[in-house]
């Protein structure tokens, strides 16, 4: 019974789609909150538009609304559910902003909903720069603390600017007031720079005002995670030190916990300030994150900002310490005090303490610049990373090297191959923050740069640099050791975090030989516990990490164990969807009597919550690290099997080598996986089953590729084998582009050839998720892509059930899928992509693993596919699972009743985060390489409404009136006439480029001709379409790309238009199919019948409908 007996129901707002800067850490925190609130007996209502999350699984809330997170929609949910309270602090900035909007619109007051976790005043105090500065000044004064804000001066004239500069010193930040998106801001390094930037800023600012602020670039950066309860008990959960000094967003920085370079006096001052700030801001039942900058030469401390909510850092801090911030924040919000909440890890001591660590935690960011080749790769205060990996070690070098290899990127680990290089050159490169900067630092030190020089170039604290220098020294000793590797030098290197692969490189041995030697010498890691208390009390929760230390703490177990390999750091193409499947497997296998063991290194996820599985190993997902976990688990009990098919490509890539090492793999065998992944073998499977595939070939040289293309005809789809997320995939129309592609591709992946497929450009693409037990096929769902063929399935919107496929099509798809599953030898999940072209169902590819769409399909059809898959992998049959009730007694996702809801998945793309070096936007056109970071789901009774919801959730509402601009490729002109006419009938004014306008007018659609970007402004000053978009004159853009990428002309015109659309946030449709869907969506909104319905209600209706077989 919660202390707030008056609260019976709570609304929790999630954070929506995964975007850069707001990722699955909020699934972790939201899931924890929902579990806590439910356990307290409260009715939980949840709204989150992201179907890939674990929190939106129907079992975590009483009413789960996968609906757009907008104030209007949330108001409808409030009106329907009438919750007593709203908890807005666990869903990132999205939830906080929505709560503030609901408050300001009077909705909370109208429905009597109490805001819990943080009040409006506290939220605003944290958000408003000026108010926050006042708070910092006040607490410094009141308690005599060393704390201040960056000094700043507001100036109205250049003379004032120059006078201020004398006080602030260079460099300084110049910010013009009230310009859009901070336009005109810059860093002035000298008077000339100040005159230039401030001069332009004074002109640009509507109030002729600029803010000059002292620069804290290069200062040491710290964060504290703070929690406070209603009795004013405050604890600091964790200190985090950024290895990268100020100037790099903390999300893009390498960070270390606990802080490494503070004396107690400095730390306690920081702690006092943090506590004073949380009190002054008034967060009294929850947590916040406070960021500090410290001058390395004087210790002067600046309080940068605070967030009155859980954050990416709080997720990291929770994983780093074993102190579950979100879970405790939820408890505090419903009236508990810290001393009333037990510490989960020790079970005996309370949460009103501060965790102490006897290990070091390092977090490293994972970037995806390869997906955005034009983007500027310099790291700034604008976050660009898409994921992160965390590692734990008993020393900083051990943790750092483990973290770097957890990134699973070629070249992410330190290397001593080749010549060290020129230290000056390396230092020059390291001076500018960029992905992989630390490797330049390591090489520079190795090449002979001193710690002092490297510190001067990078601002990285000398202590960290010396630790990296120590890693270099160990490498040198390993390399130059005259005898073979001895137990002594092997152990020393392992304690510095070296992998077998790195040692192999140093000694010119294979990784396997090093491993054999290591085993022979008995050099194995031990596993120690993250226990919150540095071993002062016994830990009851096995949350483990490896270290080459003295004593292993793996507890014995008598139940058979299943080891689930997670998916590692989030990246484009492999994200929260795979974590969803892993977590589900863990839950269901625990229920089935297994001891579940999770291995993963992504601190943002639910899978790395120590509450999720029986045991958690926070470890890199490399062969070496996984083998050691398996070994440790085998020594402490029986391992029934290892699951590799739920965590995406990461564990799948380990399958064969794990099996070769004698590890039992459950589910689809590595040999079967190979049948699906290796082109030749897969071709034989298809041939045996009599299934058509697009004509194709395999090439390992440009000449071979051209030969194949000549035979099968352009366009062709080319891609390297064994990739996820369409990495390196392109549609190629001519020999020249093909040759260029082959040059790039063979360099990128020498062991694997390139696949060349005939590209079916006029087809409908279909995605299928299915479950197979060796006897029976359960068709999870058939999804029809909304975009044209050739767009990566992860970036394409899709509908389930399919909206234009007939009964016969689904029947053929079912037969093909079954034949494939049987031919490959699938036990568990399989995802197949088909193309329907001229009545033929072509097989594009099959993946014998959980797919990105598993959570979407599960939610759309109310069937827990991942759970069923885990059971099938361990031997259950589909018939048994039907009997048990885990699967529906009859039918499957291919036989959904006619009145089943329509679910639309839409991808969310990160184009607005990237700029080219010249400051231009990057092209937003979709292609076969996946670039979306996340997804949303719209679910409703009819397609139009579901599509409208998906757009609203992803990009904001579709417009219902105003101006629509249309410019389409010739091949699309015929198909666009009807939807554009419909737009015109709905009252939109149609603007079009000349060619498109001509076609429209001939078909009776009034369209106004506007100038192309390449035509420039007209003689009478008529603006181009780009100018019009930028000026906010256009409400909807329909632009299908044509022409070849990179050339001038029409292709470039389209690029400029789409970039402007992203800049202004105007909805931009890039396919004709998308246009048709958008028109249906707009019609649905115009009809005004967009309601809300929970997944539980959808499931109930579906269950009822299933009992009536479809007529």
């Amino acid at each position: 019974m919660s202390p707030r007996a008056d609260l019976r129901s709570v609304l929790v707002i999630g954070s929506g789609p995964i975007v850069i800067g707001q990722a699955c850490e909020f699934d972790y925190s939201g899931t924890q909150a929902c579990r806590v609130l439910k356990a307290e007996g409260l009715r939980v209502t949840l709204v989150n538009s992201n179907p890939a999350t674990i929190m939106t699984d129907p079992e975590f809330a009483d009413a789960t609304y996968v609906e757009p997170i907008t104030p209007e929609v949330v108001e409808k949910i409030i009106a329907k559910e009438r919750p007593d309270a709203l908890l807005p602090t666990l869903g990132g900035q999205t939830a906080l902003n929505t709560a503030v909007a609901l408050h300001e619109a009077g909705v909370l007051e109208r429905y009597g909903v109490e805001l819990i976790g943080a009040d409006i005043d506290a939220i605003q105090a944290g958000e408003n720069r000026e108010r926050f500065k006042e708070i910092v000044a006040r607490v410094a004064d009141k308690y005599g603390l060393n704390a201040e804000s960056a000094r700043s001066v507001i100036c109205h004239t250049m003379d004032e600017c120059l006078a201020a500069a004398a006080d602030l010193g260079y460099p300084m930040v110049v910010r013009p007031s009230f310009t859009m998106g901070g336009a005109g801001s810059g860093m002035a390094y000298d008077e000339a720079g100040l005159r230039r930037i401030a001069g332009a800023g004074l002109d640009a600012s509507p109030t002729s005002e600029v803010l000059l602020e002292e620069s804290i670039l290069g200062w040491k950066e710290y964060e504290l995670e703070v929690m406070r309860d209603k009795h004013d008990n405050v604890v600091i959960v964790c200190s985090i030190e950024n290895l990268d000094p100020m100037g790099v967003h903390t999300g893009d920085s390498i960070t270390v916990a606990p802080a490494m370079t503070l004396t107690d006096r400095e730390y306690q001052n920081m702690r006092d300030v943090a506590i004073a700030v949380i009190r002054e801001v008034g967060v009294d039942t929850g947590g916040c994150n406070i960021q500090f900058a410290v001058h390395p030469g004087t210790g002067r401390m600046i309080v940068i900002e605070m967030n009155p909510r859980v954050s990416r850092s709080s997720a990291l801090a929770s994983k780093a310490t074993g102190f579950p911030i979100a879970k405790i924040a939820a408890r505090l919000a419903i009236g508990y005090t810290l001393d009333e909440i037990p510490n989960d890890i020790t079970k005996e001591t309370p949460a009103s303490f501060e965790p102490t660590l006897d290990y070091v935690v390092v977090k490293v960011p994972r970037f995806a610049f390869e997906k955005f080749p034009a983007a500027d790769r310099t790291l700034t205060t604008h976050m660009k990373s898409v994921g992160e990996a965390m590692a734990i070690g008993r020393s900083f070098p051990e943790a750092l090297q483990k973290a770097l290899r957890s990134l699973e990127q070629q070249g992410s680990s330190f290397s001593w191959a080749g010549e060290p290089g020129d230290p000056a050159e390396l230092l020059a490169r390291a001076a500018l923050p960029h992905e992989g900067r630390l490797r330049d630092v390591q090489r520079a030190l190795w090449a002979g740069a001193t710690v002092e020089e490297t510190h001067a170039a990078t601002g990285i604290d000398p202590w960290f640099l010396d630790q990296i220098a120590a890693i270099n020294e160990v490498a040198d000793r390993v390399r130059s050791a005259e005898d073979a590797l001895t137990r002594g030098n092997l152990l020393a290197a392992k304690r510095y975090g070296f992998s077998d692969a790195q040692l192999g490189e140093l000694r010119s041995l294979s990784e396997e030989v090093v491993r054999e030697l290591r085993y022979a010498l008995g050099v194995r890691p031990v596993y120690q516990t993250v226990d919150t208390c540095a071993a002062e009390f016994a830990a009851r929760t096995p949350y483990l990490y490896s270290s080459y230390d003295e004593e292993t703490e793996v507890p014995p177990g008598d139940r058979p164990k299943v080891i689930i390999l997670g998916s590692g750091p989030n990246r484009i193409g492999q994200g929260v969807e795979f974590d969803y499947s892993c977590v589900h497997a863990s839950f269901t296998l625990a229920e089935a009597g297994y001891e579940t063991v999770m291995v993963n290194c992504n601190p943002e996820t639910v899978s790395t919550d120590y509450d999720t599985s029986g045991r958690l190993y926070f470890e890199p997902l490399t062969l070496e690290d996984v083998l050691e976990v398996v070994h440790a688990e085998q020594r402490s009990g029986t391992v029934a099997g290892v699951i590799v098919q739920l965590g995406g490509q990461t564990p799948l890539g380990l399958a064969q080598r794990l099996k070769d090492a004698g590890v039992p793999i459950v589910g689809t065998s590595p040999e079967s996986i190979h049948l699906a992944e290796e082109r030749g073998a897969f071709g034989r499977v298809l041939a045996r089953a009599g299934l058509p595939a697009p004509k194709h070939g395999t090439a390992s040289s440009a000449a071979e590729a051209r030969e194949i293309a000549a035979e099968i005809g352009y366009p062709v789809l080319v891609r390297p084998s064994y990739v996820l997320g369409g990495r390196g995939m392109e549609i190629v129309y001519d020999d020249e582009t093909l040759s260029a592609y082959m040059e790039k591709a063979t360099a990128a992946s020498p062991e694997h050839p390139v696949l060349v497929d005939r590209f079916l450009d006029e087809s409908i693409e279909i995605d299928v998720d299915a479950l197979y037990d060796g006897e029976e096929l359960f068709l999870g769902g058939v999804m029809e892509h909304i975009e044209e063929a050739g767009i990566h399935s992860g970036d394409s919107a899709c509908a389930l059930p399919p909206i234009t496929l007939g009964h016969d099509d689904v029947k053929r798809i079912r037969e093909s899928t079954e034949a494939l599953a049987a031919g490959i030898g699938v036990r568990g999940l399989m995802n197949v992509q088909y193309a329907l072209s001229s009545g033929v169902v072509y097989v594009l590819e099959a993946n014998p693993r959980a797919s990105r769409t598993i959570p979407f399909v599960s939610k759309a059809t109310a069937v827990p596919l991942a759970k069923a898959a885990a059971r099938v992998m361990l031997g259950a049959t589909i018939a048994e699972l039907r009997a048990e009730g885990l699967l529906p007694a009859e039918g499957d996702g291919g036989t959904l009743p006619l009145d089943a809801p329509i679910a639309v998945k839409e991808a969310v793309l990160p184009f607005d985060r990237f700029r080219t070096r010249e400051g231009q936007g990057v092209d937003t056109v979709l292609g076969p390489e996946m670039r979306s970071t996340g997804e949303v789901m719209g679910i409703d009774e009819v397609f139009g409404t579901a599509f409208a919801k998906s757009q609203q959730a992803a990009y904001g509402s579709l417009p219902t009136k105003g101006r629509a601009f249309v410019s389409v490729a010739n091949r699309d002109k015929r198909h666009m006439i009807f939807p554009v006419k419909r737009l015109s009938d709905l009252g939109f004014e149609i603007l079009a480029t000349e060619g498109t306008a001509e076609v429209l007018r001939r078909n009776g659609v009034r369209a106004r001709v506007v100038r192309k970007h390449s035509e420039g402004p007209g003689s009478g000053g008529e603006p181009t379409i780009v100018r019009r978009v930028l000026d906010g004159e256009v409400d909807l853009i329909v632009n299908t790309p044509f022409g070849s990428p990179g050339q001038s002309g029409p292709r470039l015109d389209g690029y400029e238009i789409r970039t402007a659309a992203v800049l202004r946030g105007v909805p931009c449709v890039t396919t004709v199919q998308g246009l048709a869907a958008a028109v249906q969506g707009i019609e649905a909104i115009v009809r005004g019948d967009v309601g809300v319905r929970s997944l539980q209600e959808h499931a109930e209706r579906l269950r009822n409908a299933r009992q009536v077989p479809p007529g």
């Binding site: 004396t263 006897d358 009390f537």
Partner: protein, 384 residues
């Protein structure tokens, strides 16, 4: 920024082997850190992640070998502002990863040099967590570190011959021999007689900040000597050893209580207060040594995160007031981790004490208000 490189201390260059042997025979191997030689003491662990300099100079660690659970020690070097006494007090030091360079704007010297100069023998070894778990399960025990002995059995023999902490009277070994005065900062409001049983520098400083002129007195000062200063309040400090062996301090405190002068005690001072009230003291299995301990004020329910350094504790009923020769008393504070007594007060007289460290250094400042409470008692006494 100051940086000092100390190649000799680099554990990646195992030039000087060292060994740690516990009295139950458990042996750890590592490399020497600090001075070469051999040392003995009670083996304890400290879980603080900051403040090694304060810890090393805390007189309560006299005759103890301290193991730090935080792996990286020495990162910020050694400065001239942070020591809590005039010298390094620990008998020996155990760390996992000594810093190779010091990096902090206030750093003057490296920790390795400082230990070596002070003649403190230490060991850097991987197994600090294993050691901590061993002590947690089996209790604090005697130990020896040696950089000269290679035979564990021989070292063990000498460990077993070394004195035990139970019954050890150590306050006399660390307290000042001559009285000295810490002047009030700003206007003088009170005169405090502070009996130094192993006092930390921050304690008189916290009082001085509040207008106290602090007369620091030797540990064996008698009640007469204390009262001769006509103090507004009397303070008994923290310190090493077994409170049961410090009868002289108990006797002195009884005299002070008889006189009705306001009293405040910290740590060892709390134990002496308990004994003066007729309560027993006992040795904890492995003690509290760290800066993250939750202590609850039983009157307000508020929890302070506090600095601790004690191996002994007071036995008292926590659920009710009890009678003492000085009237009714009660337990004011308890540790939420293990329920142990963390504070006492007389209900009808101006006297109280805490087992933990409101002066912090190292540690959080949550409990500094206790110094204000002491000042209030003195204020009230003056007005009364």
């Amino acid at each position: 920024m100051s940086m000092q490189r100390k190649e000799a201390m680099d554990p990646t260059h195992p030039t000087n082997e060292a060994m740690l042997v516990l009295e139950d025979g458990r042996t750890f191997h590592g490399t020497g850190f600090g001075a070469a030689g051999e040392t003995f003491g009670e083996m304890v662990f400290n879980t603080g992640m900051t403040g090694y300099q304060e810890t090393l100079t805390d007189p309560s660690y006299h005759r103890q070998i301290v193991a730090m659970t935080a792996p990286h020690i020495g990162n910020t070097g050694v400065n001239d502002e942070d020591p809590e006494s005039g010298r390094i007090q620990v008998a020996g030091y155990v760390v996992r990863e000594p810093a190779r360079i010091a990096s902090n704007w206030r750093s003057r010297r490296s920790l390795g040099d400082e230990l070596a100069a002070a003649g403190v023998v230490g060991i850097a070894m991987p197994g600090t967590r294993a050691l901590t778990r061993h002590l947690r399960d089996r209790g604090a025990m005697r130990a020896g570190i040696s950089t000269t002995e290679t035979d564990p059995a021989a070292l063990l023999e000498r460990v077993l011959a070394s004195p035990s902490m139970v019954g050890a009277d150590l306050a006399r070994e660390v307290g000042t021999t001559e009285p000295y005065v810490v002047p009030a900062i700003g206007a003088r409001r009170f005169t405090v007689a502070a009996v130094d049983l192993g006092i930390k520098a921050m304690t008189p400083h916290r009082m001085a900040e509040r207008g106290c002129e602090v007369h620091v007195l030797p540990p064996t000062s008698t009640a007469e000597e204390i009262l001769a200063l006509r103090p507004d309040g009397v303070f008994f400090s923290n310190g090493p050893g077994d409170p049961a062996a410090a009868d002289y301090a108990v006797a002195a405190l009884r005299g002070v209580l008889d006189a009705g002068v306001p009293f405040f005690g910290i740590c060892f001072g709390n134990q002496i207060f308990g004994r003066a009230l007729g309560l027993g003291t006992y040795k904890l299995r492995f003690g509290h040594r760290g800066i993250n301990q939750p202590v609850q004020d039983r009157a307000t329910g508020r929890v302070d995160v506090s600095a601790h350094n004690h191996g002994f504790a007071v036995e008292a009923p926590v659920d009710r007031a009890f009678d003492t020769p000085y009237g009714r008393a009660e337990v004011t504070h308890v540790n939420l981790n293990d329920g142990c007594v963390e504070g006492l007060r007389l209900i009808d007289r101006p006297a109280f004490s805490v087992q933990y460290h409101p002066e912090a250094a190292a540690g959080p400042h949550d409990a500094t208000g206790l110094f204000d409470r002491f000042c209030e008692l003195m204020d009230r006494k003056e007005q009364g």
